[in-house]
Amino acid sequence: MTDWEEDFSEYFRGSAARLRRMAYALCGDWHAAEDLVQATFVRLYRRWHRLHSETLDAYTYRVLVNLFLSGRRLAGREQVVAEPPDRAAAGGDPADRVDLARALAALPRQQRAIVVLRHLADLPVADVAELLGVAEGTVKSQTSRGVQTLRAALGARALPRG
């Protein structure tokens, strides 16, 4: 492994799990989420020499979200998973999980991406706007609509008004 591949590996180890959670929030399926993460890192690998540490996270988010928004077909990807992932035992209230998964899936893709970037990745409005190439006002309005939709789907128990 070369020096830069060591750097790449370190970045992978530090960010892949977080990215997979974000991908899962976007697509609602762990297998698809892992596909998205793999496609994202393959793209990063190909461009690694041209990336800068200051903007690396933003670029990574952008690739992941763009792959998700473009609905790129990943079915034909190579199976390079070292070990087939096991399923962990389910925890929490299954009804709540199903509700949130359905509510997220009901959001339009870009709106879902904005809600996830704002509230899971915890990015500021300006960063989300830049990342998606939309106006800050669009991010604010789409976040508000997305949260309203989630509230309507989940009821007052999860997202009380105000």
Binding site: E34, R50, P160
Partner: protein, 251 residues
Amino acid sequence: MEDEQVRALLSGHVTENEPPFGLTAGTVITAGRRARRVQHGLALAVAVLATVVSVPVAVSLAGGAGTGQAPQVPAQFAAPSTAQAPEGPVVGATGALIDQRVRADLPAGKHPVTVTVYPSDWTTSKPIPDDRAAYATDWHGQWKYTGKKLRVSLMYLWPGARVQGCAAPAKDCTDVQLPDGSRLITYTASMGSAVPMRWVRHHRSDTYEVLAGFEIGQGNGNGLSDEELARIATDPQLVFPAPPVWPSPPS
């Protein structure tokens, strides 16, 4: 409060039933290497195919036998988009235009060597990724000219940006208003460099300016005069499209 609850819900949603991670750095690197080989293979295939089809086309154009139809490149040989990314020190069409204009504005007879032309923005003093060039708020170029450093910057200014006039640390400075209302500020400053530079700043509006600077070395016989720097700074073609989204102003 509501934001925190949304965060807590989402965070719980993506962690409470999280399966083990099947990917490793090694497997991704293997896939990345393979993708690179495929990319290079496709680029080579395109080059070979272009050579193969260009021969009969050339024969046809020269009056030889042919069908008269342009050869169709099979879709599977279309170059991947990443293969079209600029690889040189000059980034993209905007970088090429800047390089071309600066070269045209320099006095004839001496040949500048382009070191780099790259996009950047308010949030960093370094280049931004090439594929973010459309979001650049500034472009910076550097050339070697008669063995000394020439720098040119094209910049959109953030709201409330302070206009650099003749205040210290600028030395030997003049600030002239041109007939079109723009300002031409000429001064000497180090600007973080060990060697002082002579700068001409064309403040074209409250939102846009172009700077040209040249290293002041020992014996400035091969230097650029203020007028020659001003010719670059005032070149009307040294412009680039505003980004579709403005980054946060620098703090």
